[in-house]
């Protein structure tokens, strides 16, 4: 047993730190720290900075232009990028489509799609969920009918995250209408410029615009945009579901959020003393810090296991469940810490110059509400428990 980083890993950690020190613009880290809604421009600016360094595709092997990091290196990058309040890397092209193309794409697709992801030229979004389908992908209804060398796509996708900034979308569509519902699904790449596509914003609980509905009306998509074979979509979807996501536990984000929570607890007062000295508040902070301390090691253990086996196991569902619980608890505490001054709705104050709450906390309530999504999207915690029931409990 050895929990320490190797010398090489320590050197890498230093390299990452030096990189962020030198290259992450303050206006980006300020935006992340404040919890304000990120703009597409800020994301793109950050993506290009990483791209220039060759660090954008953190999970890609070297042969496809990735840095070829080990899981531990990816973990280090994750933690450090959170520590420096770098944004998350928008995952749809990099963490999702990239690996799919690498595994299922043909040579032409690899040559066309991957470089434009690597260079941050293309912004991909995801067309998976449909209204009324949620976690039940097999029941999807968006259809792609073959017409010569095109598919004609009709239907509706929803929860398309950051789709308003994207120029491309990958979709699961139905290409076969009899037999088992899972067997008739295909994986299709679609240019968002294609006529017949309309993207409409969905406003979220806290007021932000982060997800969209996408409507397809007689959208003609060249047949060569099919990834893998027709009706292979279910296999690809399953591959993506179990594909390793180093950051799934959100350890880096939670560590940073905890540090900021403690700082807030020292700056805010209750009953004439710093809030952090209030035993009820401190107890909650301590409990979640302890849970996070364990999660850090659980995460490393599972990375180590994945590294040994060459692929992640079903235990990643544990990381997802516990990771979101911890993150949500920290966000909850950051909201509670403000007391009544958590209330102002950002952007709805008549005198915008008056500072109503401690620095970088004006979005704490909004952030708490927005973060309720983490236990729902990407396979709800209930779905994760169902997966663990099957795979780990074998019940």
């Amino acid at each position: 047993m050895d929990l320490t980083y190797s010398d090489a890993e320590l050197a890498f950690q230093q390299e990452v730190r030096d990189f962020f020190e030198a290259n992450l613009p303050m206006h980006i880290s300020d935006a992340v720290r404040s919890g304000a809604e990120m703009t597409g421009e800020l994301y793109q600016e950050y993506h290009r900075i990483l791209s220039a360094k060759g660090w954008l595709a953190t999970t890609w092997p070297k042969e496809y232009g990735g840095p070829g990091w080990t899981p531990v290196e990816r973990h280090i990058f994750d933690v450090e990028s959170s520590r420096y309040n770098a944004p998350r890397i928008v995952p749809f092209g990099l963490a999702m489509l990239g690996p799919v193309i690498q595994k299922f794409g043909n040579d032409r697709q690899k040559a066309e799609v991957l470089p434009r992801i690597l260079s941050a030229e293309d912004w991909w979004c995801q067309g998976y969920s449909e209204p009324g389908a949620g976690s039940d992908l097999a029941s999807l209804k968006t259809r792609a009918d073959r017409d010569g060398d095109h598919y004609v796509v009709n239907g509706q996708k929803t929860w398309t995250t950051l789709g308003q900034y994207a120029n491309k979308i990958f979709c699961l569509v139905r290409t076969k209408f009899d037999g088992k519902p899972q067997e008739g699904i295909s994986f299709l790449l679609i240019d968002l410029d294609t006529p017949g596509i309309e993207m409409r914003p969905i406003r979220l609980i806290e007021g932000g615009h982060e997800v969209n509905e996408v409507f397809f009306t007689d959208v003609r998509v060249p047949v060569e945009n099919l990834v893998g074979e027709e009706n292979l979509g279910w296999t690809i979807a399953k591959f993506l579901l179990t594909h390793e996501r180093t950051g799934i536990a959100g350890v880096g984000i939670s560590m940073q959020a905890l540090e900021e929570l403690k700082a807030l607890g020292r700056s805010v007062k209750r009953n004439g003393k710093p809030l952090i000295e209030d035993p009820l508040f401190a107890a909650r902070v301590a409990r979640v810090e302890i849970d996070l301390e364990a999660m850090k090691i659980t995460n490393l253990r599972m990375l180590f296991q994945a590294q040994k086996q060459g692929h992640p196991g079903p235990e990643t569902s544990i990381l997802k469940i516990k990771g979101t619980q911890i993150n949500q608890e920290i966000r909850d505490l950051a909201r509670r810490a403000l007391g009544p001054v958590a209330a102002p709705f950002p952007g709805h104050v008549t005198d915008g110059n008056l500072v109503l709450s401690p620095p970088d906390s004006q979005n704490n309530a909004a952030r708490y509400f927005n973060n309720r999504k983490t236990s729902i999207f990407g396979g709800s915690n209930e779905i994760q428990r169902n997966i663990l029931t099957k795979t780990m409990l074998e019940l």
Binding site: R270, N271, T350, L356
Partner: protein, 356 residues
């Protein structure tokens, strides 16, 4: 022992619920709650005419209610529709004015809108740490300091401000026109204000006001508890309907045992919350009112969080959207806890009772 409402109160509840159901569908409510001035002056007047403000004021002060159960009936109804009208300020002001023996005619008829300024950023819940000061100057007073979270302050005509005069807590009346009032919408809708007091002229309402302030807080907390029960029940009803109609993997999601048991737990906590409102309403004005109402607010703060978070989670994505009423109910249920003493503050009050 009797758990039925009196006929008068039942009528009040029915009238108000009918009015609110007609006037505050969720779209209308959201428009009013998030667009300045974050309420409707017209509806405010209509509701005053219906006697809602009067129901919050005791008979000796010119109203026709003001008992615990009047308050709980009104605020439970307001909570169901997330009504953004500033009745909380009116209620608390009425308690303070009542303690001073001041006239409340304009409060009862709704012609003057009142708010109260108690919280400060470093003393959000405990008035003993108030830093705002009052200074006497030639028979009148000026106030200095800052009050945060003045509920309804964005449209108040008069704000009753808690300030220290010679180290003792007093209540002072400030004309909104004389002060720097920065209004805002709250994240859960409805308005509040930050009140910046810089040698602001004020009239003395009450000195040695500790008991009166506690009574106003008690009444306000009771109101928030009742409001939460209304919002919890509305949330629960939508959730139950969703569980029955929404299908996944070919069956209504209400058939999943996990969701069933978790919903039963919500039902249980809502029943417990309702009980606490009854207990708190009965205790208002009694010697143990502060303790009993702190207990209620702690339990209801916990229950409201559970109902809000579970309702969002069990709905899945849909309750994460602005368009769906549950998102607004959930926001209200969560943010209620930040008003007038949160679960921790109220629990600490109960814990402090053990040391004595």
């Amino acid at each position: 022992m009797n758990f039925d409402l009196t006929e008068d109160r039942q009528m009040l509840a029915d009238t108000l619920r009918r009015y609110l159901a007609e006037q505050y569908d969720i779209e209308t409510r959201n428009k009013l709650a998030y667009d300045a001035p974050f309420h409707s002056a017209e509806k405010w007047s209509e509701m005053a005419e219906l006697g809602i403000a009067g129901a919050l004021v005791t008979e000796e002060n010119g109203g026709f209610g003001g008992q615990g159960f009047d308050i709980s009936v009104v605020f439970e109804a307001l909570g169901r529709t997330l009504c953004p009208e500033p009745f909380l300020g009116a209620l608390m002001a009425s308690r303070l004015l009542g303690a001073a023996g001041a006239d409340q005619e304009s409060l009862v008829d709704g012609s003057v809108r009142y708010a109260v300024g108690i919280s400060e950023i470093d003393a959000p819940y405990d008035v003993a740490f108030t830093e705002t000061t009052a200074t006497a100057t030639d028979g009148t007073y000026v106030l200095n300091g800052r009050k945060s979270a003045v509920y309804g302050g964005q449209v108040a005509d008069v704000i009753l401000v808690v300030a220290k005069l010679d180290g003792k807590l007093g209540v002072f009346s400030v004309k909104a026109a004389d002060a720097n009032v920065v209004g805002y919408a709250m994240i859960d809708g409805a308005g509040a204000a930050e009140l910046v007091l810089d040698n602001t002229p004020a009239e003395l309402v009450l000195t040695g006001a500790d008991a009166a302030i506690q009574d106003a807080l008690n009444a306000g907390r009771l109101a928030l508890c009742a409001e939460a029960v209304g919002a919890m029940e509305a949330t629960y009803e939508i959730l139950l309907d969703y569980l029955k109609t929404r299908k996944q993997f070919g069956v209504a999601i209400g058939k999943f045992q996990v969701l069933q048991h978790r919903t039963v737990d919500l039902l249980t906590e809502i029943e417990q919350s309702r009980s606490m409102v009854v207990g708190a309403a009965a205790a208002l004005g009694d010697d143990d009112a502060a303790l009993k109402i702190a207990m209620a607010k702690n339990l209801i703060g916990r229950a409201a969080r559970q109902v809000a978070e579970e309702a969002i989670q069990m709905h899945g994505g849909i309750a994460m959207t602005w368009e769906y009423a549950v998102s607004h109910l959930a926001k209200r249920l969560i943010m209620l806890d930040h008003q007038l003493g949160d679960t921790d503050h109220c629990l600490t009050e109960v814990m402090n009772s053990y040391a004595a």
